[in-house]
């Protein structure tokens, strides 16, 4: 029950993009087409889930028992960087079209604050193993939801008459703001 709550709250109430402001770069960069948004969302969800598992193990089996918490930032970032490399190789092997579609953004997952943020927030909140994994999946789904919704809106925006200075990032951020406001409505639904 508690796990379900964490899951739903990671998707809707404390959405990674709209509440924690994590993963803004891909959120703005890869949200022009629904297809690529979906693939980006899936890639992030996948990496997030693995990161949740691996970072928990490192934190609880290596860092905390040895009182090495101050190495958290260095180890997490290195682990994430290597994980992303692996995922990249994996996707290139099994699905070249997908690899083509995600292009430059896959390596960028390394410096995607959402992944690092996930590892840090889970460590900060002292979640146990099961909770961390659920939190990881939920956050990934939340990210996917936000980026896909955004892509849907932006496909419409393409054919709308947007004032010239607002084109691109400007209007995208304002749309994100309205989405954040809508998501605010989900607060308090977790009893």
């Amino acid at each position: 029950m508690e796990l379900l709550m964490i899951f739903i709250s990671a998707i809707l109430v404390n959405n990674f993009v709209l509440y924690y402001f994590l993963g803004i770069c891909p959120f703005l960069g890869v949200s022009k087409k629904i297809d690529s948004a979906v693939s980006m969302g899936l890639a992030v969800t996948f990496v997030m889930t693995i990161t949740a598992v691996v970072s928990w193990m490192i934190n609880h089996w290596i860092l905390i028992p040895n009182k090495l918490e101050y190495l958290q930032i260095v180890t997490f970032i290195l682990v994430i960087a290597s994980l992303v490399q692996l995922v990249e190789m994996f996707i290139r092997k099994i699905s070249p079209p997908l690899y083509q579609a995600l292009g430059i953004y896959l390596p960028l997952i390394t410096t995607n604050c959402a992944i690092m943020g996930l590892a840090l927030i889970a460590a900060l909140k002292e979640y146990n193993f099961a909770t961390t994994v659920i939190f990881g999946i939920g956050s990934g789904v939340g990210f996917t939801l936000a980026i896909v919704l955004m892509a849907g809106i932006r496909e419409q925006l393409d054919v709308s008459d947007v004032p010239r200075p607002l084109k691109g990032a400007g209007i995208a951020l304002i749309v994100a703001g309205i989405m954040a406001l809508a998501f605010q409505g989900f607060s308090g639904m977790i009893k």
Binding site: M5, N14, L68, E69, Y70, L71, V74, S187, G188, I190
Partner: protein, 201 residues
């Protein structure tokens, strides 16, 4: 030197230097960081169990920590209960004080919250919320007085005022307090709150 060897050498050196630096920084700051945490808890205990000269942890489990506050002579003044739970937006961490037999809540303080600024975040405001928690009869679970009243005198002995526009946040705080108080009462009945170990501090 060939490239592979050089790569390994450079990475190891960078890693070692960074590790050494971090270990130094880690050691230099650890003590102060622990001290900050301890100070924060102590300040909160003093706030909710006024007059506390020394405090010790008597119970710590399942997200609830109970501290016993005593005066200079070692007489028990009351308990300070540290608990947390889900709020409107995120986790709320709070501490409340009780008298020794847990029949009165003396004071409440909020340690950590991320409620909506300007609405739910008012649970940290003494004037709007916390003052209504002073000296409440806690024999029975506390209840929320809705709609909000203007003065503490209009509230019953076990009633808490609601924040206008932040009913859910008020309810969540009440829920955390009632649940943890209930848990602490059970502990007390089982005799687990006896000051078993004196080595606290």
């Amino acid at each position: 030197m060939n490239v592979t060897a050089r790569m390994i050498f450079v990475l190891t050196t960078v890693g070692l230097i960074s590790g050494a630096l971090l270990a130094t920084v880690g050691m230099l700051t650890q003590e102060r960081i622990d001290l900050n945490k301890q100070r924060e808890i102590e300040a909160a205990i003093l706030q909710v169990v006024p007059g506390t000269q020394s405090s010790q942890t008597v119970f710590e489990q399942d997200g609830i920590t109970v501290y016993a506050g005593s005066d200079g002579q070692g007489n028990l003044l009351g308990y300070a209960v540290l608990a947390s739970g889900t709020g409107f937006q995120d986790i709320i961490t709070l501490m409340f004080g009780t008298n020794p037999d847990l029949s009165v809540i003396s004071k409440l303080t909020i340690l950590d919250q991320k409620e909506t600024p300007g609405l739910g975040a008012n649970i940290t405001s003494r004037d709007m919320f916390l003052k209504y928690w002073d000296n409440k009869d806690s024999v029975n679970p506390l209840t929320l007085h809705k709609p909000a009243v203007r003065t503490a005198g209009e509230l019953g002995p076990g009633e808490i005022n609601t924040i206008t526009g932040a009913t859910i946040s008020s309810e969540k705080v009440l829920q955390i307090v009632n649940e943890s108080l209930n848990a602490v009462k059970n502990l007390n009945n089982e005799g687990k709150l006896e000051k078993e170990d004196k080595h606290g501090r």
